[in-house]
Point group: C2
Chain length 321, copies 2
């Protein structure tokens, strides 16, 4: 949570002069966003978010992310909509960083989602997959199964410092997932990081999906597996099948899963858990001195992996056909 | 710049239920505020700032600060106005911290104030002093001349690590200021920390004064001396007399300085500079490991002190009678 780049008022004023969103009334750095610097922006034209992309986001990917948000917003999905300058460009530069202004979305992230939130999320996820169906650009998932072994190599030697036998467990997961990873599932644009902090609610209604900076082209059911991991485990580490059932059933109201997806759900859930365990493990072992961001606990996903290893079929996640 | 306390959505929802400001639409932690945690808060009733007081603000002082903001806002000063609960209290508790909701003020802090900003600030400062005249509560200035020697004691042994001969210079300043500090100047409520980041502008107009957590009862001209220090020096360390002249003249349009205040201005400016040099020096030498806030440079005020030591009369700050 940090503002990595300070933006002086003069620089912002000059930047805003390119846009048709009125005069500056206020802006405040937001203590959110691990990868980027975000400002809450109020102009005579409304409320916006100003994002400066820091070095962890590849500039070459920005046309995909911004184009996707425009595409989704145009189809009625509640997501940040990039604002274009009078010259027609969405991506600008501010204080030496790529920068963009997007529409502000109301809503609150739910820290402890209930069954009703999981149900609403299932619908929203299916809506996202449908809205992205005719998006022309493609971006491979840079954090899918091929990426896990190189990630693990960066952490293998020190993994057992984090938890006993973590290295050996991970070697077995890797071998198993690499051998059995499904390749031909229905796919398209997925969010790939739809944790609770990226979903806004007003009451029980999803009012916005944000942070599309891991979005990519991959299997739809893998996105669902990421959400089952992120939303349906309890604080004590147990999987709440009622929540899983609500999420999957709501998803299937808009897009029923195909038999191959149902069959693959356990391996997809295990793979999704391994992906987040690995990136967290690497971050955990490489906290830079003076870091402004506290790393997330890789062992939360080590515990989820223990559950997934014992799962045999989609019904254990709440799928009821 | 930091959010020291995370506020879960459930806790905030319960807190807001005590107020008559409508339903929660969104809240975001603001990466501002060295002492407190601040959230931008949007409800169906409007925009607000939610502040949680962290340990550096003494809870016993909060009735003074909140009462003062209510008093000033009631007299038309553009400052945050504490919102009262249905039960009539302004000060609540949230996540174990004293907490308050205040009105949101538009406006932008000017990093490099021009002459016109200094003029506007002079008027706003005189307006603040007038609006506070009939405020009943009193709070001694805990960072006035009596506090400087104890502050220096905490830093004296290591001061020369920060700049050569800083300790000796400071001993001489302390002796001189303690001997010559003026005692009977006109006074009342002063802001005591009116740096550029605590003043909002929309265009050339002051749209808000914020952060009253150093406000106290002291000499009005000392507040002016703090502002001359904070607003009228250039990046190269030189004092800009045109800016000083604009600030003082605008102040005097509402409240002409008395002869004793004019005579005391050089010593007040030197004292104000010493106060900020000392608190910054102590913070500089005591940065806790993992600190989220970068300490401010004490040497900026060491350089200002060098200027003040050579000043003989108020005219050198731009006073023209």
């Amino acid at each position: 949570m940090a503002v990595y780049t300070e933006v002086p008022d003069e620089a912002l004023g000059a930047f805003l002069a390119e846009y048709d969103i009125g005069g500056l009334l206020s802006y405040k750095g937001i203590a959110e966003g691990v990868e980027n610097t975000n400002f809450f922006l109020h102009t005579t034209g409304g409320h916006f978010i100003l994002t400066l992309y820091e070095k962890r986001v590849a500039e070459a990917d920005l046309p995909f992310f911004l184009g996707l948000m425009e595409h989704l917003a145009a189809r009625g999905l509640a997501c940040p909509q990039p604002i274009r300058t009078r010259a027609g460009t969405a991506l600008g530069r501010l204080c030496g960083r790529p920068a963009v202004i997007v529409s502000f979305l109301d809503g609150v992230s739910v820290r402890r989602p209930g069954v009703r939130h999981c149900r609403a999320l299932g619908s929203a996820l299916a809506g996202l997959h449908a809205a992205g169906a005719d998006f022309a650009l493609r971006r491979p998932n840079a954090l899918s199964v091929e990426a896990w072994r190189p990630l693990f190599s960066a952490a293998e030697a020190e993994a057992d410092r984090v938890a006993p036998n973590l290295a050996e467990r991970t070697r077995q997961d890797l071998a198993s997932l690499e051998a059995g990873w499904p390749r031909d599932l229905p796919g398209g644009v997925i969010h790939a990081d739809l944790f609770t902090d990226n979903v806004f609610f007003i009451g029980d209604r999803v009012s916005g999906l944000i942070d599309f900076y891991f979005a990519c082209t991959d299997a739809f059911a893998y996105d669902l597996a990421i959400c089952l991991n992120a939303w349906c485990f309890e604080a004590d580490g147990s999987f709440n099948r009622t929540k899983g059932q609500a999420m999957i059933a709501a998803y299937e109201t808009l897009r029923p899963l195909e038999p191959a997806e149902v069959a693959a759900l356990p391996v997809l859930c295990r793979g999704a858990a391994l992906r987040f365990m690995l990136t967290r493990l690497v971050d955990w072992l490489n906290v830079p001195p003076g870091a402004l961001v506290k790393p997330k606990d890789p062992l939360e996903y080590d515990r989820k992996l223990a559950f997934h290893r014992r799962v045999n079929e989609a019904a254990e996640y709440g799928w009821s056909g």
